[in-house]
């Protein structure tokens, strides 16, 4: 039960928890969290496999890939949150539109 195997199995468990969580929630932000957890599960398996080098430092190539993977997963989370925020705002406007005067859109993006 060498260390890399423990973390690889933990990454697999993370992946399955995240994937099942992704499908069992309706709330948008919860689903974003679930997709984030699924991603980090996959990355954990990748780095754990990189640790299988019998002697010397672990294999740097998966490390570089996972490094980019984390930054991309953050940007996809941020995009997801931005989309969720827009949906929340539209829903709110749909339910409260009668009393509100038509909102003038602010200055450019």
């Amino acid at each position: 039960m060498n260390p890399w195997l423990v973390y690889a199995l933990s990454g697999v468990a993370l992946f399955s928890v995240g994937l099942v969580g992704l499908f069992s929630h309706q709330h948008v932000v919860k689903r974003i969290l679930a997709s984030n957890i699924t991603g980090s599960g996959v990355l954990l398996v990748l780095v754990a496999l990189a640790r299988r080098v019998p002697s010397g430092p672990p294999d740097p190539v998966p490390h570089a890939l996972v490094l980019t993977g984390i930054v991309v997963s953050v940007s996809s989370t941020a995009l997801g949150v931005a989309l969720a925020r827009r949906m929340a705002r539209l829903q709110a406007e749909a339910t409260h539109s009668p009393e509100h005067e038509p909102r003038s859109d602010g200055e450019g993006p």
Binding site: G21, S24, V29, A34, V61, S75, A78, L79, G108
Partner: protein, 309 residues
């Protein structure tokens, strides 16, 4: 003792992830998720991947935590129908267990020790211009990935900005708050220093553009939240140039060897080190600005109350 620490950490990660997804209230889920980010950073540290622990720390505590806290302010805590969730829970647990066993068996079938590409990277590391293998792979051997990844970041930033066009004005009342002002004044020099240090150390140790960019973005988030700086507007030229310096410089450096007979992304050996350092500085600025663009600024008023705008 090492086995105990690894075993406990490896056990707690999925446990904490399950807790994050099982809780009903969103606020508890967000806080648990921040704790999950921390534990995964410890996991990377134990797996001898300091670069990844650094990125996870810089991005997890800096950006994701603040961004998810922001979601607390505009999402209504929709009361979930607990009965339906309770009815489905055994099935969910069964699915998780089945998936884990299946994939776990696949992982167990892998050979226990494989040399990986470490030797090839070390063999060619001299002419990559940097001494640290991960940076060499990131910016030289697999520079193509990093180049496209910067494009992915730009697209995500443009998308986030297009979807939330209105960046609200920071309310002036928060600007007079002495406490956060002092915090901002104290943090900024330290953040800039550590960001510069990380870009420099990326040459021969774990560090680099991503970590430094995330740290600068964390400082920027504090600046926005303490209304020392307005939300970066896409219409201002400075923001656009900050977004474009990294990719343009990287593409320029990548395409330049084509004219002198070399292949795409083939850094000339003599200047590889300095070229990589310049590209990393530009990438730091771009990544910091991109991560900052994700932050929509101040909290919109509760939609329930008539917003006196």
């Amino acid at each position: 003792m090492d086995g105990l620490l690894d075993g406990c950490l490896a056990l707690c990660l999925p446990l904490l992830a399950y807790l994050v997804l099982r809780t009903e209230s969103l606020s508890q889920a967000v806080v648990l998720f921040v704790a999950f980010g921390l534990l995964s950073a410890l996991g990377w540290a134990r797996l001898e991947a300091p670069d990844i622990a650094l990125v996870e720390a810089a991005v997890g505590t800096g950006l994701t935590g603040a961004l998810l806290m922001h979601t607390l302010s505009w999402t209504e805590e929709t009361p979930p129908d607990v009965r339906a969730r309770a009815r489905r829970r055994p099935w969910a647990l069964l699915a998780m267990a089945a998936l884990t066993l299946l994939l776990g068996w696949a992982v167990l079938a892998l050979p226990a020790d494989s040399p990986g590409l470490g030797l090839e990277v070390d063999a060619r590391r001299e002419d990559s211009g940097v001494k640290h293998p991960v940076t060499a792979v990131l910016l030289n051997f697999r520079g193509y990935d990093t180049l496209l990844e910067i494009a992915v970041l730009l697209v995500a930033a443009l998308g986030a900005r297009a979807v939330n066009p209105r960046s609200e004005r920071a309310s002036s009342e928060a600007a007079k708050d002495p406490l956060t002002g002092e915090l901002f004044r104290m943090m900024t020099p330290a953040l800039l220093l550590v960001a510069g240090y990380l870009v420099w150390v990326g040459d021969h140790g774990p560090g680099g553009a991503f970590q430094a960019g995330a740290i600068l973005a964390g400082g920027g988030v504090v600046a926005i939240l303490t209304s020392r700086m307005g939300t970066p507007r896409m219409s201002s030229l400075r923001v656009r140039w900050a977004l474009l310096t990294g990719p343009l410089l990287f593409i320029g450096v990548a395409v330049a060897p084509l004219f002198s007979g070399g292949r795409l992304l083939e850094f000339p050996e003599k200047y590889a080190g300095t070229l990589i350092f310049i590209v990393e500085m530009a990438l730091t600025v771009t990544i910091a600005m991109v991560l900052l663009m994700f932050f929509p600024g101040t909290r919109p008023p509760r939609t329930g109350r008539g917003s006196a705008r």
